[in-house]
């Protein structure tokens, strides 16, 4: 149907050259190139991913090969270090570099996997609770409360007993418990968002709840969500370390940064490198994820200007 218009032009207006998604992507990439931190983040995450993928090529040793004689050797550049072991060896004489390289696989999968699982559950439940309110809210939030009150390690023990230990168990348990924080944060924001006019406006044009939630409400909680997720990648990797501390983490032959860190804690005073290098690996990776998250957040926020430099 044609709209009668006053314009004398008559001819159909030219459709825009690019659709908004294309524009978003392009704008995003341009923004990535321009933002210092975005670039740093992207580079870090890329490198870590490459390391994880090419671990067998990069590792100089079998990550599980022990050499009691070479135990606790300092990094190559320190006195007493050997060029054989770039970053030194751990308490069992295993090569720390190779373990970090292999550990990136588990840590990335656990870190990101658990965040995806918990983030998805949390966001959906949080929005649902706030959006529908009443009994739906009551049920979901009370469930969350219950979960908060139950110690993670109790759950972990149960799951371990039922499905046995391993990476996926870990992702499952962390995912199943961490969603609460997402749900609560998201719910809090949605409670105030849903009273906003643009949500009414969406309802007005006849949008279904699904659309309102996914197109109108969720994008507006994204920034908290992304920030939380970035931090939760760290939380998860650390949680794995903490579970290792309790003997519930990932065990040989799988290597994880958290496990390395936890093993190394005994040697903090005497052989700093055992815990410091995996600690650095975690820090740098999380920093990368967070910077990348900041960039993503900015791209998703149309108000964010392009800062040059």
């Amino acid at each position: 149907m044609a709209i009668p218009t006053e314009s004398g032009a008559g001819a159909l207006p030219v459709p825009p050259k690019k659709r908004s998604e294309a524009r978003g992507l392009k704008k995003g990439l341009r923004q990535l190139l321009r933002s210092k931190t975005g670039m740093i983040g992207a580079v870090i995450v890329l490198i870590v991913c490459l390391i994880a993928i090419f671990a067998p090529l990069l590792a100089t040793h079998d990550p599980n090969a022990v050499a009691p004689i070479d135990r606790l050797k300092p990094p190559a550049w320190l006195e007493g270090g050997s060029s054989d072991y770039l970053l030194g060896t751990d308490n069992l004489g295993r090569d720390i570099w190779s373990r970090i390289v292999y550990g990136s696989q588990v840590s990335l999968i656990v870190g990101i996997g658990a965040v995806l699982v918990s983030g998805a559950i949390g966001a959906v439940l949080g929005v649902t609770a706030a959006y529908y309110g009443r009994w739906v809210d009551a049920i979901i939030m009370r469930l969350a409360d219950s979960l908060l009150a139950i110690p993670t390690i109790l759950l972990m023990l149960v799951v371990l007993a039922v499905v046995g230990p391993g990476m996926w168990t870990l992702i499952f348990v962390i995912g199943a418990t961490n969603w609460v924080s997402y749900a609560r944060v998201v719910r809090g924001e949605v409670l105030s968002l849903k009273e906003r006019d643009f949500v009414k406006s969406a309802r007005m044009i006849g949008a279904r709840s699904g659309r309102i939630i996914f197109r109108h409400i969720l994008p507006n909680v994204m920034s908290s969500f992304i920030v939380l997720s970035g931090m939760n990648v760290a939380t998860t990797i650390i949680m794995e370390a903490s579970l290792s501390f309790l003997g519930l983490g990932i065990t040989t032959p799988d290597v994880s940064w958290g496990g390395m860190l936890s093993d190394g804690r005994q040697y903090v005073a005497t052989s700093w490198w055992v815990a410091t290098f995996p600690g650095m690996a975690i820090t740098i990776t999380v920093l990368g994820v967070i910077f990348l998250g900041d960039w993503l957040r900015d791209v998703l926020d149309p108000r964010m200007k392009l800062k040059n430099g």
Partner: protein, 322 residues
């Protein structure tokens, strides 16, 4: 010395698509006690001009050139701290969007009282008392209660009046009112305009009144500035403008008015669309829509020239049309 002098002000927005020259060399002045109306196409840069004077242009926007002198002092080069002393006190502004311009989590009384606390050093209690006074003056019923309400509990018009109360609270020397009465019914509009007029008279306040309502312009203004696509296209005393509009755009504007006295099925409007600021037409920006356009209009950018004493027009055919 004028109360306010704006010279060749330029404010651009640097966006992903390119630079939007929202205000592109605007000049005008306001005398103490005078009311200057700014009218113009929606999106022509009126709000950005006023925000530029206040130095409140938000982020991708940047004042890239020009001068803003208030009582002779160059505001643009003032340290931030100094500028803050002017804002809300000597110069205040009523924003166009009353709905989102109030902080949702503070009570109305608090928000009105805040300027008084800041600039007049009033205590909390005194400020609130005065705030209620102010709310009554702008015609808010049950002001005592409303002072304790939050913005979302108010109707659009009420919020707008709250914004006006905030702007007037400190009796500024210069008031910038960006469409202050759009959400008000005419009786209250009359009351508000009356209030502004009184203020202007009593305190010798200079007023910049941005509005689309030519009726309001006719009633309030001493002088009128007409803007189009980021530029001033005409400036004249109010009587002169209504009698002898000089720029084809102004003429079109006058013609679009729905009249109370006659009933027509269709209203006249200026054909064509507002130019794309990113891709301005060559020559006179109005030429694609101008019924009087000649070939030269496509090439030559006209300058703002004085036609009559005090009546400036930016048109190649200034003398001939109208």
């Amino acid at each position: 010395m004028s109360l306010l002098e704006v010279n060749e002000l330029k404010t651009y927005f640097k966006t992903a698509e390119g630079t939007v020259p929202s205000v592109n060399g605007v000049s005008f002045s306001v005398e103490a006690g005078e009311t200057l109306a700014i009218v113009g196409e929606s999106g022509c840069g009126k709000s950005v001009t006023s925000l530029s004077i206040m130095q409140l242009v938000s982020d991708p926007g940047e004042i890239v050139g020009g001068e803003v002198r208030f009582e002779g002092k160059d505001l643009l080069n003032l340290p931030k701290k100094e500028m803050r002393k002017y804002r809300g006190n000597e110069i205040s502004m009523i924003f166009q969007e009353p709905m989102s311009s109030l902080n949702p989590v503070f009570t109305i009384g608090n928000q009105v009282g805040e300027v008084l606390r800041r600039h007049k050093g009033l205590s909390r209690g005194e400020a609130k008392q005065q705030a209620i006074e102010m709310l009554k003056r702008v015609g808010i019923p049950r002001a005592e209660q409303i002072a304790n309400n939050f913005p979302h509990q108010l109707s659009g018009g009420m919020r707008q009046r709250v914004m006006i109360a905030i702007a007037l609270a400190c009796r500024p020397k210069l008031l910038i009112a960006d469409e202050p009465t759009t959400a008000l019914d005419v009786t209250i509009q009359a009351q508000i305009l009356d209030l502004i007029g009184k203020l202007s008279e009593e305190e010798n306040t200079g007023v910049i009144l941005i509005t689309h309502d030519l009726g309001v312009v006719a009633e309030m203004a001493d002088r009128v500035v007409v803007m189009y696509a980021g530029e001033v296209v005409e400036e004249a005393p109010v009587y002169e403008l209504f009698e002898r509009p000089g720029h084809p755009y102004t003429i079109g504007l006058m013609g679009s008015l729905p009249k109370m006295s006659e009933q027509r099925d269709r209203l006249d409007s200026i054909p064509g669309a507002v130019p794309n600021l990113l891709d301005m037409p060559s020559g006179c920006p109005f030429h694609p829509r101008c019924p009087f356009a000649i070939e030269a209009c496509k090439q030559t950018k006209p300058a703002l020239e004085e036609q009559q004493p005090g009546h400036y027009v930016r048109c190649l055919r200034a003398g001939e049309v109208g």
